[in-house]
């Protein structure tokens, strides 16, 4: 990856005197992304995963704007129809309140994807800024930031997230904050180590010589070079965020009823595990498939960015 990032930045070094350098640089950057996309397209599991994720996103969006496409109202209770096994009428069966599990699994994609994306966005933005500042500034700033990160890493993240939820109370917004917050150190660490490596390079020295400010150097020169690792980490991060959210839901700390969330559905089915196993099997399958897709896509993107793994 170092090779690729250096290549991509080569024109920046020569940029100053050459008026044609801007289009050239754009071309080079574009070609890196083109290469990555080309390499990703050869990776069948990653492409299938991308398809699954897009499909989930479409399901989430369509069921949000047009809930009438669902076979049943996911919130309508019908106690006379509780715990019906899977059938032609109810593909995944019905839950204790007689709600259609298939409709609830479909609409559950909204919450899982939202939590996955937003909590990663929170940890990404805060983690990247903290990591970049720590790595670039060094010294006491670095020590303080990284020691705090160490402290957060010193407790299992799910335990911290649970403690947060206990303190903040139930709700999907709080789950997003809790999960986003506990993953900050992972991003901060990755970005810091990458920044430490990039900081020594010639083009950063050159930028400093021509008088660029620290902020410009960090955001314009350093961060674009650590983007590949961040993208890979974020893709994999979505999968662990979805897993954590499901765990919170399972423990009864997630959404408020009657919202449909996969982990919550699993948790509620627990008392009827032998009588109605399907109430737990299908939501769990949905979580596993989604997480698997993000993991495979993340692996694929990592390989695509790695020139050593990239086959031309």
């Amino acid at each position: 990856m170092a090779e690729a990032t250096l290549q991509a930045n080569e024109p920046q070094k020569q940029a100053q005197p050459d008026p044609e350098s801007a289009p050239k640089q754009a071309e080079k950057t574009e070609s890196l992304w083109k290469d990555v996309w080309y390499s990703l397209r050869q990776n069948i599991p990653a492409m299938v995963s991308l398809f699954v994720i897009l499909l989930l996103a479409i399901v989430a969006i369509v069921t949000y704007f047009w809930p009438q496409v669902l076979p049943y109202d996911p919130y309508a209770q019908d106690l006379s129809a509780s715990f019906q096994p899977p059938s032609a009428a109810h593909w995944f069966g019905t839950d204790q309140q007689g709600r259609d599990i298939f409709s609830r699994v479909l609409i559950g994609s909204q919450i899982s994807l939202t939590v996955g994306l937003l909590s990663v966005a929170i940890s990404l933005v805060i983690g990247v800024v903290l990591g970049a500042v720590a790595g670039y500034k060094g010294g006491i700033v670095d020590t303080i930031i990284m020691r705090i990160m160490d402290m957060m890493l010193a407790t299992p993240s799910i335990l911290l997230a649970i403690a947060f939820m206990a303190a903040l109370g139930r709700g999907i917004d709080k789950a997003i904050i809790a999960i986003g917050f506990v993953s900050i150190p992972e991003y901060a660490r990755i970005v810091r180590s990458q920044v430490l490596a990039v900081k020594q390079s010639d083009y950063v020295a050159a930028a400093r010589v021509i008088g660029d400010s620290d902020a410009v150097i960090i955001f314009k020169h350093v961060l674009p070079n650590v983007m590949p690792s961040i993208i890979v980490r974020a893709t994999l991060g979505i999968s662990s965020a979805i897993l954590d959210a499901a765990a919170l839901g399972f423990l009864g700390l997630g959404v408020q009823p009657p919202a449909a969330e996969w982990g919550d559905m699993l948790g509620r089915g627990r008392n009827y595990i032998f009588a109605a196993p399907y109430a737990m099997i299908f939501p769990g399958l949905a979580i596993t498939i989604t997480v698997l897709a993000f993991n495979l896509l993340g692996d694929g993107i990592r390989d695509a960015f790695d020139p050593k793994a990239r086959k031309r």
Partner: protein
């Protein structure tokens, strides 16, 4: 070496202090007032005020923190709001159950994970390699509690061969001893009780081990593939040594270095997974206790448990670092960070 260990221990102290601050802040600052939860919605304001006063919740935060810290240093983590039993006692009585579960899980994960990893590296692109890749992928993608549920449905509900919850048949439970039922029953020579303990721990340990098993398999495979490509392995093969001997004695021994680290770190993360597994299998350990206490706003218990788990986590990381430094002479003991 001793200097290195001492330095690592000294470095762990501020981290532990930090953990205690984070836990304290979460539980006391962000959290809502526990009085109505503990005393019930209908308690009078006077009763709640008296309760807050009695539990030191009216003191300034800094005083509360130092009371908590001072107590923690002397092994006093306060009392549970509900049972009024000392938290230390509650945690210690549940500690063996969690550790026993985590140890059995890490043994399963290490043995199966290393074996699968080695097999898939030495038989690259074979059926077994494909199978282990699938296991590794599904293992990291499956929620631990869902796997637990599936195991219960299949082995307890469908086949009726293993129990679905609890740690042991209460009638067979060993009295006294270490609290580690597998060890106690074995030492007492009570094989009926031992096999009952084994039957109870099998499903939760399997569920808990899956994630670590997947990580260890992947790590062993990639580490093994790397060493198999090394010159000394080729030399050994060129000298006419048997493939199996080279694989085990030359490649695996060197490949184990990063694997050891991963195993150690996994042991730490199992403590987090234990909370979910214990809840699924009604395993009477610290994890289930913490979850129950969180749901009841029993702050002293939650604070104490998080601090205890954080401490164990840090100790495990420390031990892993030291073992790693011992195994790999290239790591200098005076290095800033491991």
């Amino acid at each position: 070496m001793l200097k290195y260990v001492l330095k690592r221990i000294l470095l762990a102290i501020p981290v532990l202090l930090g953990v205690s601050i984070i836990v304290f802040l979460i539980m006391r600052v962000f959290s809502a007032d526990p009085a109505p939860v503990v005393l019930g919605q209908h308690a009078t304001e006077q009763a709640m005020e008296a309760w807050r006063e009695a539990n030191g919740l009216n003191d300034p935060l800094i005083v509360q923190y130092f009371n908590f810290l001072g107590g923690a240093l002397t092994g006093n983590l306060g009392e549970s709001y509900y049972t009024h039993t000392p938290v230390t006692q509650e945690l210690l009585s549940r500690f063996p159950a969690t550790i026993e579960l985590a140890l059995v899980a890490i043994i399963i994960a290490s043995v199966v994970g290393v074996a699968l990893g080695v097999l898939s590296a030495t038989h690259k692109n074979s059926v077994i390699d494909g199978l282990s890749t699938i296991i590794a992928l599904v293992g990291v993608s499956m929620p631990i509690f869902w796997l637990g549920v599936l195991l219960i449905i299949f082995f307890a509900g469908y086949l009726h061969v293993l129990p679905s919850s609890g740690r042991m048949d209460p009638l067979l439970q060993p009295v006294g001893g270490t609290g580690f039922y597998l060890l106690d029953t074995l030492l007492m020579g009570d094989f009926e009780a031992f096999s009952d303990a084994v039957a109870h721990i099998t499903l939760p340990a399997l569920a808990l081990s899956m994630y670590s098993l997947a990580v260890i398999t992947r790590m062993t495979r990639s580490s093994m593939l790397e060493t198999l490509g090394e010159d000394y392995v080729r030399t050994a093969r060129a000298k006419g040594l048997k493939k199996r001997r080279v694989d085990i004695h030359h490649a695996l021994r060197n490949a184990m270095l990063p694997v050891t680290t991963v195993i150690g770190l996994q042991l730490g993360s199992l403590l987090g997974g234990a909370m979910l597994t214990e809840t699924v299998f009604a395993w009477p350990g610290i994890g289930k206790f913490v979850v129950d206490s969180i749901l009841k706003s029993d702050f002293p218990v939650v604070q104490g448990a998080v601090l205890l788990i954080g401490t164990i986590f840090i100790i495990i990381n420390l031990v892993v670092d030291v073992i790693y430094a011992y195994l790999d002479p290239r790591i200098s003991y005076s290095k800033e960070e491991g």
